[in-house]
């Protein structure tokens, strides 16, 4: 029985589409410069037409404009979170995985303990202490994300540390920094990218959920979660209000899932071939 059939095109198609989507959403507000919060009471809950491609909401605001502007804020938070939490996780994972011994036991014990509590609980607790707002939100998301990533990166580092080429490098007297940067780091790049793309999906879902609950972006600012929350009162008359942000969330996080999943499977296959 062979490994799962997988075409190598997946390795670049999904990450490519994800990058396109992110860049598109980040740049779009530069071209759509109308005010996304402009209220037009004469065009309340208008169905999609030529002027408003995705219709208008309960205050007559253009849904497409709000999607683009809200997407930029959410995606920026997601990118910042992933970048910072991955950096923290990389440092902790490298130290724990490479150092072994007491430092590893202490760090791993801490990680195991943190991971017992569900992410959403930790995020909400941090928000409860720090208050709502963009910076507390990013800190809360990092506080949730880094432990799981650090544990996986520790496992990846440990596997490479025990490989024969690291042993050989140590035998010829290479410095630790040389081994870490030239041997260990390049070999955990794939799990790093897999984790990063899965984290992008996760962060978007959590941020939208928090906005949906009223703990994230505050009205009148557009946000996909806020738009979904607002759509609830009107979805019998205006179902497009519910579809537009929902489809955006699913599309983006599905692309991120697919990117992570395909990178992971390609790596598994190449490892199996060895």
């Amino acid at each position: 029985m062979s490994a799962q059939q997988r075409l190598p095109w997946e390795g670049f198609v999904w990450p490519g589409l994800l990058v396109l989507f992110v860049v598109g959403v980040l740049l779009a507000p530069a071209f759509a410069t109308s005010d996304p919060n402009a209220i037009r009471m004469d065009k309340r809950l208008a169905a999609p037409d030529a002027e408003h491609l995705l219709g208008t909401d309960h205050l007559g605001r253009d849904v497409l404009l709000r999607l683009l502007h809200g997407g930029r804020a959410t995606l920026a938070i997601g990118l910042a979170t992933v970048l910072l939490s991955m950096t923290l996780a990389l440092v902790v994972g490298l130290v724990a995985g490479y150092a072994k011994g007491a430092r590893d036991v202490a760090l791993s014990g801490l990680l195991d303990m943190l991971l017992t509590l569900p992410g959403l609980l930790v995020t909400l607790a941090i928000l409860g202490v720090l208050g709502t707002g963009t910076l507390p939100l990013i800190l809360a998301l990092i506080g949730t994300a880094w432990a799981g990533q650090a544990r996986l990166l520790r496992a990846a580092t440990l596997a490479i540390r025990n490989s024969s080429y690291v042993e050989a490098a140590r035998a010829i007297g290479a410095r630790q920094s040389h081994i870490l940067f030239r041997h260990v780091l390049p070999n955990i790049v794939t799990p790093l990218f897999v984790l990063a793309s899965l984290e992008l999906a996760e962060v978007l879902l959590v941020v939208s959920a928090l906005s949906f609950l009223g703990l994230g972006a505050q009205p009148p600012n557009a946000d996909w979660g806020v738009m979904l929350a607002e759509s609830r009162s009107y979805f019998a008359q205006a179902p497009w209000l519910m579809w537009a942000p929902g489809v955006c969330i699913v599309l983006y996080s599905a692309l991120a899932n697919l990117a992570g999943d395909s990178l992971q499977t390609l790596r598994d296959q190449s490892l199996r071939r060895i």
Partner: protein
């Protein structure tokens, strides 16, 4: 197994710090509330009276003693005892969480095993793509969709509240969906991994019925990585209920907790974390014990850093 003890210690210490470090000096607040002048003498008197001068470990132990007797302090916002506020809401949340947990586990493991054992190579890519998309559906959007179609358009189920068994169907489906997809994916890959093993081929070769091969040989061996995940998912479901409860007006802990987070009501936040943390730690402990029962080689005492 021993990991549960330090986790419990950490959880209680976290909640202690959360609930006691907040909003200035309790002695000063007490004086202001009783309209007394905040003279240094009175402040010192009340600090000693409230035990604020004691070292932190002593204060922690006293707080723990109170917590064990059900005293978690009073809410900043409503001034009601935290224990009362939580106690009257805990049953609906646990009910919803347990029902969703059962749906997710049975559905996820069952469908995952089915997908893996009746697998068509040409459908592999399709199944994987579908699972990635399904995993991307947020629970609150699914909940709105369910209300829109099942509740409003076709009028099959009640859209909000609590009462008959029909009330729990939509919340439980919306809550369990995400966990079900996660369990389905892991079951599928775990089963596919086991299918390659020699003992599975042997079982088939000796003429064992395919159903028995799946039950006795494949699922039993695939259950090991699954058990840990299922244990952790219980906590995800219990806290995920916060979102779902608010959509379906389910009278659980969710609305209490969200109000507390929005108003930075730290005693209530701490109380909720303690109350929800205990069953979560218990679920993880159960998963560890179950892993040991499945595979006696796994040492219960060796958990920290043991599983790479």
């Amino acid at each position: 197994m021993l990991a549960a003890l330090p986790t419990l210690l950490c959880l209680t210490m976290l909640v202690f710090v959360l609930t006691t470090s907040a909003r200035g000096d309790p002695a000063l607040i007490l004086l202001e509330q009783s309209d007394q002048p905040a003279t240094p003498e009175l402040l010192a008197f009340y600090r000693a009276e409230l035990g604020l001068d004691d070292p932190l470990p002593v204060r922690y132990l006293r707080w723990l003693g109170n917590a064990l007797q059900g005293d978690l302090g009073r809410s900043f916002l409503t001034q009601r005892p935290v224990t009362d506020m939580l106690a009257e809401r805990v049953v609906p949340t646990l009910t919803l969480g347990l029902v969703a947990f059962a749906v997710a586990t049975l559905g996820g493991v069952g469908l995952g095993a089915l997908l893996a054992t009746s697998r068509q190579p040409w459908a592999d890519l399709l199944v994987r793509l579908a699972l990635c998309v399904l995993a991307a559906i947020p629970s609150f959007w699914l909940a709105i969709g369910l209300i829109f179609f099942l509740g409003v358009q076709w009028r099959l189920l009640p859209v909000a509240g609590q009462g008959s068994w029909q009330h729990i169907v939509m919340p439980a489906v919306a809550l369990s969906f995400g966990s079900m997809v996660v369990m389905l994916r892991l079951t599928r890959s775990a089963v596919l991994e086991v299918l390659r093993e020699d003992y599975v081929r042997t079982a088939h070769a000796k003429g064992l019925a395919p159903r028995l091969v799946t039950l006795r040989h494949i699922l039993r061996n695939a259950a090991l990585p699954l058990t840990t995940l299922i244990g952790m998912r219980f906590g995800t479901l219990l806290t995920g209920a916060v979102i779902i409860e608010s959509i379906f007006a389910w009278p659980g802990l969710g609305s209490v907790f969200i109000t507390a987070v929005a108003g930075r009501d730290l005693p209530v936040i701490g109380g909720y974390i303690l109350l929800i943390g205990l069953p979560i730690i218990a679920a993880n402990l159960l998963a560890d014990v179950f892993c040991h029962a499945l595979d006696p080689r796994i040492n219960l005492a060796d958990t920290a850093g043991g599983r790479a």
